[in-house]
């Protein structure tokens, strides 16, 4: 399974999500104006939204290449359980997309004038939440793997599923930035992440089996 991860890393698209994240964050002040009070108020939400969209952008790559050259069929006939394959795919997506996003988020927070108290909680909430985004996204990618115009449909399917994660993640970052208690959203976000990691690979694997039939 290590070589899949290496292949994903070498396969390009690594910096694409990051650049997208950067551009979204840079564009926001142009859209809403440069008042730093306003920016620091909406910074946690913007950073979360940007991370979510950047995640979405790279989802169709999870299975598309392997589907085209047939290695997905090979993986499916290998003795590995499909659930394992799906989980590792999600992990690879997180390592190549989610983790870099988490790491650059504080830097972009400076651009948006994020309050000092918020940096730790923003980073922590993204670190907790992005694995859920990857796992949910893998489910969406598995649903649309064989389709010609899958990209748009993928966004339509995955975005509603992202709602709870986004709410709790952004809420946690916002409360952290404003100095409130963050225990509740922290626990709920962690719950969502653990729950999706534990259960959703089964759904993704089932869907992938149907698509490979």
């Amino acid at each position: 399974m290590r070589d899949i991860r290496l292949a994903m890393r070498a396969g390009g698209g690594f910096g694409l999500g990051l650049s997208f994240f950067l551009i979204v964050v840079v564009l926001v002040p142009f859209g809403v104006g440069p008042q730093s009070a306003l920016l620091s108020k909406i910074a946690p939400g913007i950073l979360w939204l940007g991370a979510l969209l950047a995640c979405l952008l790279s989802l169709d790559r999870i299975f598309a290449l392997d589907w085209e050259d047939g290695s997905l069929d090979l993986l499916a006939t290998s003795p590995l359980p499909m659930e394992g394959i799906v989980s590792v795919k999600a992990l690879a997506h997180w390592l190549t997309t989610g983790l870099p996003l988490v790491l650059v988020a504080p830097v972009l927070g400076v651009l948006l004038n994020l309050p000092e108290a918020g940096f730790l909680w923003l980073t922590l909430s993204l670190a907790l939440g992005t694995p859920a985004l990857s796992v949910i996204g893998t489910f969406g990618a598995a649903l649309t793997v064989g389709l010609k115009r899958g990209g748009l449909l993928l966004s339509l399917l995955v975005l509603p599923l992202y709602v709870p994660t986004l709410i709790f993640g952004a809420e946690m970052a916002r409360r952290g930035a404003e100095g409130f208690d963050i225990t509740t959203p922290l626990l709920l976000l962690a719950g969502i992440t653990c729950g999706t990691i534990a259960l959703l690979p089964f759904a993704s694997a089932a869907v992938l089996r149907v698509n490979l039939r």
Binding site: F139, L143, L153
Partner: protein, 246 residues
Amino acid sequence: MSLNSLWEYANPKKFIQTTDRVLPWVAWSAALTLVVGLVWGFFFTPDDYRQGSTVKIIYLHVPAALMAINAWMMMLVTSLVWIVRRHHVSALAARAAAPVGMIMTVIALLTGAIWGQPMWGTWWAWDPRLTSFLILFLFYLGYIALWEAIENDDTAADLTSILCLVGSVFALLSRYAVNFWNQGLHQGASLSLDKEENVADVFWYPLLVAMAGFVLLFIALVLMRTRTEIRARRMRALLARERMGA
């Protein structure tokens, strides 16, 4: 004629035969109860002392909202039946119910907005209920889009039913998340007057009739659409066979 179990209706032929007889009754009683409920509600109930005549939109709003949620529940059940027992009628019924449910969601949102404009002074507020209905609408949209996108019928049925199951879990999660989110924004804003609480009997009975009418209407529409799907599929099969023969 004795029926041993519900599953006999899973036979498409049997389903068509039975609904042939049942459908006119359902459709006509739906029309009747709807007319009675709406006319009673619109013309023969007093105006509310606080809300004036705007209160009467409740006879469209509440039943539509009820059916919007119940249509998804029905899709959930039929999807489960498809996954477990692989009856085609079940999958087709889920497919038939989705657009109806989506329209009900739209009706509920629109009538809510029309009522909210004079009452709350705004067309839209990010109230938990409103927001979760908007999210429900998005789920319907994704579900229908997935059905449309996949050519193979069985694959589409499989994928959409799994999406329906996963979606249900996430829709519930979103419901509670949205509750939490709005409380976090403005503490306990009492924007939504709780409707059930202060409905007097004068309003309650016509509302009941209107709700029954919407339920019947939904059943009639779903039966009709399911029959259309079955026949369309049979026709495709016949055409394919003809092409093979020629």
